[in-house]
Homo-oligomer: 359 residues x 2
């Protein structure tokens, strides 16, 4: 088991990474204010892992309240959130009750937002069961739900007490979702860690067959990179925005295609390719570098071509993004592999040319 | 104009108190990140005060987006909150857009919660137009909505950039609501400020006729008292709970009678009387002190007798309260005027006797 700490002053918390951590009640117990937890999961994950987590807790005298949500991004909304609130209130949960998110990003985001807002905030533990959630939601404290007018429009920054990333849960992950997680892993290499990018090029095959050591290392380096960025900039005013490489384009793809058609990681991969091609148009990235990026995404089974939604629709959807400032679409672009920058200062035609070239 | 500062480190903010502050765009402008504000108000307050606030802002080049909610505690729910989200998203508001709450506690709580959760947090200015909101919601950062299973069950701690308490807005306040606000003012005297309680006994008549100087002093002392408590204990783990004198009983009254039947301040007054009578049963408060408390509430036009809901129903409703810890109902009680304590350690029969004596 590896452990790293996300440094956030009095809200610092540990991330444990390794095999079979789900059953380790001893890792959870020291973080409980009282022996009552509500485990928020979904109809796919609960049958696989709920009892593995719940039984050792019950044996240690903890009351376990299971809350099962429908599975899917389309349920990441106010109605599903209310399922959690209703269960917590009906079961008379209190401020000292700990919420545990057991599942992927959707479960984590919703459970985290419920924790942030139930009784104005209760303790929260993350047990992400997808690679994407392990390398992305584990660090940063972003929680929230979608709104019919945009993804993640309602939410809060809220930090967990503890994260357990159990690599065993990835064995039951559909291949397409494993790839989607790797998209975010590659992102850390691209934005700030050239050595990690090199390591990923060498070890992609191992990751694709779920080699536990390779996975643990990839998760660890991803979380370390994200933790360094987030510790310096918790509320996303500066450097943290670099983590959104490919996301402004990616959110437009997800929204434009209808949520659920593309996985988030797939949209980020195709979105990162758009950012790379625009960076090339700006003269910041060489053709050979764009080729390397294309190759690694392909090796990870990810799409490298964004859907042809049309320039106008892209611009419209991108302007909905939270990174808009004073009406300008700020973009994360690359100054080479391992070096990202954020800017709203670019010739607008570079963006429209990049989008027009999609077809 | 008087100004006090709520000390919360890098989230410290000023409260300005005085006449005709609504029209003082100069007080607001330095706090705006960009020249766009959404003013959240309701159908009662907007016709009276919206333009008085909006016009000078528009003249200063600020885009003003008015959002009007239905008026009443029964609308403090997820559906009404969504009116705010919808308007913000439809009008393409951004992270740098400031939300301004113009209204009483319901508007402030909902607008504050919208600010806390829209795009994971946007800047927020409070302009409370009721006495209750001026002396209560101005300080403390509590925001939220009700849930069918309990009041204020969903919410967040979120601090404003600025509070403007304009005493002129109290001239249009119904008498019953003025009294309800004074209940909270009296509370500060009772829990920690004997001198202020004495002042209130002397000046109650002035307050009841809206004498501006008396009002400004009462608001200032209330906010100062609350600010001192909150600065020491932002998240309500210790001393801050003392501010809930009368509230555990009061929430049970509000909930048991059906939200809206009793005003919050009325329920707090009757609830404080229950706390006083129980304190007397504990031997902590003298009969003469209970008589003084009864007299001042009566002078403020407030109810001193709680409704007879029955002991069981009271206990049941009180156990829903957020101050329950490990199943025990913690109560704020009085060790004399000006000295409150919080405790879960009391003979249960003292509570049931107090409740049984209501009839």
């Amino acid at each position: 088991m590896q452990t790293l700490t996300v440094e956030l002053g009095d809200r610092a918390y540990p991330i444990h990474i390794g095999q079979n951590l789900l059953a380790r009640a001893d890792l959870i117990l020291p973080h409980l204010k009282r022996k009552q937890v509500a485990i928020v999961s979904n109809t796919t994950v609960a049958p696989l892992y709920l009892e593995k987590l719940a039984e050792p807790l019950r044996e240690a005298g903890v009351e376990v309240i299971p809350i099962e949500l429908p599975d899917g991004e389309q349920y990441k909304n106010a109605e599903t959130l209310n399922i959690i609130y209703d269960a917590l209130l009906t079961q008379r949960c209190e401020r000292s009750t700990t919420l545990i998110a057991l599942g992927g990003g959707v479960v984590g985001d919703m459970c985290g937002f419920a924790a942030a807002t139930f009784l104005r905030g209760v303790p929260f533990i993350q047990i992400p069961t997808t690679l994407l959630a392990q390398v992305d939601s584990s660090v940063g404290g972003k929680t929230g739900i979608n709104h019919p007018l945009g993804k993640n429009m309602i939410g809060a920054f809220y930090q967990p007490q503890l994260v357990l990333a159990d690599t065993e849960t990835l064995n039951t992950l559909p291949e397409r979702e494993l790839s989607a997680g790797i998209a975010e892993v590659i992102k850390y290499g691209l934005i700030r860690d050239h050595a990690f990018f090199d390591w990923l090029e060498t070890n992609m095959t191992k990751l694709m067959v779920c080699d536990p050591d390779a996975l643990a290392y990839a998760i660890q380096r991803s979380c370390e990179n994200k933790a360094e960025v987030v510790a310096a900039d918790e509320k996303e005013s500066g450097e943290r925005a670099l983590l959104n490489l490919g996301h402004t384009f990616g959110h437009a793809i997800e929204n434009g295609m209808g949520y659920g058609a593309w996985l988030h990681g797939e949209a980020v991969a195709a979105g990162t390719m758009l950012a790379a091609r625009m960076s090339q148009r700006m003269g910041w990235l060489k053709a050979a570098e764009v080729a390397r990026i294309t190759r690694i995404f392909k090796a990870a089974g990810l799409p490298v071509d964004a859907p042809a939604l049309g320039v106008e629709k892209y611009l419209d959807l991108m302007s909905l993004d939270k990174k808009v400032a004073d009406g300008k679409i700020r973009l994360v672009l690359l100054h080479g592999i391992g070096k990202a920058i954020i800017t709203g200062e670019y010739p607008p035609e570079k963006l429209t040319e990049t989008l027009a070239a999609i077809a």
